[in-house]
Amino acid sequence: MTGRDDNLISVFIDEEEFLVPPGTNMVEAARLAGKEIPHYCYHPKLSVTGNCRMCLMELGMPLKDHSTGEPIIDRRGLQKIGWMPRPAIACATRAFPGIHIKTDSELVRECRNGVMEFLLVNHPLDCPICDQAGECSLQEYAADYGRGYSRFVENKNVKPKRTRLGPRVMLDDERCILCSRCIRFCKEIAKDDVLGFVDRGSYSTLTCFPGKDLQNNYSLNTVDICPVGALTSIDFRFKMRVWFLKETPSICAESSVGVNTHIESREGKIYRITPRRNDEVNDTWIPDSGRILYKSIDTDERLIHYTIDGSHTLVDGAAKEAATLLREGAVAVVGSGRASVEEQYLLGKIASAVKAISVSLVSRTGDGDGLLVSADRNPNVRGALLTGLITSLPHANLGGLASAIESGEVRTILSFGEDLTQCGVEKQLLEKVNVIYFGSHCNETGEVAKVVFPTLTVFEKAGTFINQQFRLQKFLPAVPGPQGVLPDIVSLGKLCSILDGEAIPPTGPEGVWAEMNTEIPQFSAIDFENIPINGILIDGSQWEHLPFIEGMSLHYDPDNNRQIMAEVTKSK
């Protein structure tokens, strides 16, 4: 037994030995062993109820002699296994030393066939019009374990087909397989126990508590975890067949939690945003409010032209003009907590090249919900600290900037994505100075700007954010931006190289990272390509004294994070 992690226990799955952490249930143990045990009600982040019975397996344990306690050895010299006469559910069976399971025996297959037949007898034949088709566990397992023909000649049960459970979730009770995942989610995760079953037996029906609505900001997660098409998103239903959708890994920019997402798109159009599992950040959940952020990318307010004094130009022209203005000095830079780490780094370079009088960031705050929306609604304030763009936490009001304009101290402002009229700088005041504005949508700052650079949204570009845990996380472009609009790294890079005379500006995050590797000690070993899918913790201990505003959330505890930081520091 040398060389093994002492904490692991050995389990035998279909006669092969695997080592798993103690407490692992057999669905997960099989997964670790590369086998799937089909299941419906089990969900790794919810309590175990064991109601669907799809995960039945054979369970055995090594036999011991009752009187001596010695293992009983069979003719082959192996310890004899006592197989239980009844199948057991994998989801509620936890690893114990020497446990044996069969996941593929005659009996196991027969159990699965039986459960599948039962689930289908009263199930409607809706697949052709059902949104779940293509990502439906019932469809998938029916292909593996279905009988292929029906023995059911009775009338099927009739249940409500279209019940609005809340503003965003629609229920088809006939498709519901009564797995109770949605009920458990509302109770255990969203802490809004509004769903439940009424009636008994096969007539059991999911419903919302009378007088209540399923309207908490996490309601759409029930749609994701519903294994069938019983719960559908009112926004997404009937819009697109899921097998046409491309999934791009991304990060939700709603707050500093940094929820991991998939952007699901087809032919350059986003249809929905779904959570991407990250057990260190958001588990398998996402707030409803984060799912709709993509909706603004196609609006009329979108900026699509590089302009100087309102006339269209190309990016090089805009960069040249901006450089000229910036070189005149008396510059204030307003960065953004929504910009990526790479953009913040380049912005910082620009600020130092022009010896900016001030660099500020605009804070965005709200109430944290203790789960996946934090009080800091900027996704990347920590990125601005790491890149040296700022050294203290941002404020909501740029009153200092307003008086600096008033006094004539500031003559040029570069704003990256922020509408300054929303943070204490009046439009009339802005008209007194040269404004260079980088932004994705038009606003009053854009209107008065001399030079405008249209930018891409997080859905259209690649980059990284650093969340409240100081976890660096990567997002990739899901859809192309408006025609002719270059990635923000490119525009900033061009401007930067004019200002500091560098020959080849970066064209993507890889190039910026090559620079940051040498410039920023905490980033020294990181290469953009290889940032792990679950992100990587950055040593942020240097900023630990700052009064960050986030409270507790799902996997973040401000006090605890200090300890985690200390460990990251030690390990470096």
Binding site: V48, G50, R53, F118, V121
Partner: protein, 451 residues
């Protein structure tokens, strides 16, 4: 001469003039055993119960002493005692007699059990359909509290314990102990998965909990009275004490009869105690332990070996009334509800009736029972309305086999055993239904329709 009953639990219940108030109970020696028990160490009481080899009367026949021993005392959590008075198994009506006629016997026994197990709070979970029983119990508990038998500092000791009567809301599944516990917690009575939720470890409010049937608990005071060892000599070694058999159906004298374990045979119960079949009728079948027990056919012969390796060769009438004999013939003594069917009964209709009950009562939590019970009901109902098919009998058995052993609670077996045994033993009638349907005949002519 019919065999005479040996009444211990129902000793006074039907005596003329015996009332269910505390004065009457005290006049008959009531609560003396509570005094005696309070002079004993709790551990010694548990030991006596173990010695008595008392087995559960609620259905499974599990040894009570062993159940009490399983209580997780290391956890330091409070211990709860629950009396299961849900008595919903069709054909069972014994607990009701006890509650209505001798409630103090139950209360005295419960308080002894509570003291012995260190219970913090005791409950009686009584089915909704016993409104009278609930009132009687509440009044009796009030009387017992006034006499310091229940409540704070019982009999001047340091031990305090209340009994709370909780009424169900009309669901059979609340009789299943973990469903009962969920219901008592105010939730839907969805039975819990075992493991991990064994009541003795993670019961009511996730605390160690004992659930015992009314009749089981009533035996406790008698065990204290004569001692566990002496009690174990009543009946047979594997069926100690007495049992109340509830006989219903086509006998001349249905009712409840208390006999020592194994003291009489099924034949004696039906023909001597219950005075046989109605005039002109012949015995056709017996469901021996509540409706979920597998049916036995009148002309069957049973061979095999008992646990003690003795061989047996019995007709239906020869089966001794005890746990293991009914197991040996492939059925069970269950809740003690003996349902007698005569030759007027259409067995397909009888099964349709049972299937309707189980489909109605399935809690619906787990797939096989939820879908299987209703499917079987739909089939047998169709068979009884002139649309039987020749493949139905085998289909029914196949469905029931897909339920049995694969569910969260024993309701899975309860709803599949009737179908399995009815079809196995009366297949000719199921086949006949199909040919009748083919020849356009509808319904049955013999006897009263059961659905």
């Amino acid at each position: 001469m019919p065999p005479t009953e040996q009444r211990i639990i129902l000793k006074f219940a039907d005596q003329p003039g015996y009332a269910n108030d505390i004065e009457c109970y005290l006049r008959h020696g009531g609560y003396e055993m509570l005094h005696k028990a309070f002079d004993m160490e709790p551990g010694d009481i548990c030991h006596e119960v173990e010695l008595s080899r008392l087995r559960g009367r609620g259905g499974a026949g599990f040894p009570a002493g062993m159940k009490w021993k399983f209580l997780d005392r290391k956890s330091g959590k409070p211990i709860y005692l629950i009396c299961n008075a849900d008595e919903s198994e069709p054909g069972t009506f014994k607990d009701r007699q006890i509650i209505h006629k001798d409630p103090h016997q139950l209360i005295e026994s419960m308080m002894i059990a509570a003291y012995a197990t260190g219970t913090k709070l005791a409950f009686v979970y009584i089915r909704e359909e016993f409104p009278e029983g609930a009132l009687i119990l509440e009044k009796a508990i009030e009387e017992a509290r006034a006499a310091n038998f229940v409540g704070p500092k019982i009999l001047g000791s340091d031990y305090s314990c209340e009994i709370i009567v909780h009424r169900g809301a009309g669901a059979y599944i609340c009789g299943e102990e973990t469903g009962l516990i969920e219901s008592l917690e105010g939730k839907r009575p969805y039975p819990r998965i075992k493991p991990p939720y064994f009541p003795a470890v993670l019961g009511l409010y996730q605390c160690p909990t004992i659930v015992n049937n009314v009749e089981t608990l009533c035996n406790i005071k008698h065990i204290i009275e004569i001692g566990g060892e002496a009690y174990s000599h009543i009946g047979t070694p594997a069926a100690t004490g007495t049992r109340i058999w509830c006989v219903s159906g086509h006998v001349r004298k249905p009712g409840y009869y208390e006999f020592a374990g194994g003291a009489i045979t099924l034949g004696e119960l039906i023909y001597d105690v219950c005075e046989g079949m109605r005039p002109g009728r012949k015995l056709k079948a017996v469901i021996p332990g509540g409706s979920s027990a597998k049916v036995l056919r009148a002309d069957e012969r049973f061979h095999g070996h008992l646990k003690d390796h003795t061989s047996f060769d019995w007709g239906l009438k020869d089966i001794p009334l005890d746990y293991d004999s009914f197991m040996a013939v492939g059925s069970m003594s269950g809740s003690g509800g003996v349902i007698v069917l005569d030759d007027s009964v259409d067995m397909v209709e009888a099964l349709a009736n049972l299937n309707a009950f189980y489909a109605h009562e399935s809690c619906g939590q787990c797939t096989p029972c939820r879908e299987g019970s209703l499917w079987m009901k739909k089939i047998t109902s169709r068979m009884c309305s002139g649309e039987a098919r020749s493949e139905d009998a085998d289909l029914l058995v196949s469905i029931s086999k897909q339920i049995e052993g694969r569910t969260i609670c024993a309701f899975g077996e309860a709803c599949s055993w009737p179908t399995q045994s009815f079809v196995a033993k009366f297949k000719d009638e199921f086949v006949a239904k199909a040919s009748e349907a083919q020849s356009q005949a509808t319904g049955s002519e013999n006897g009263d329709r059961l659905i």
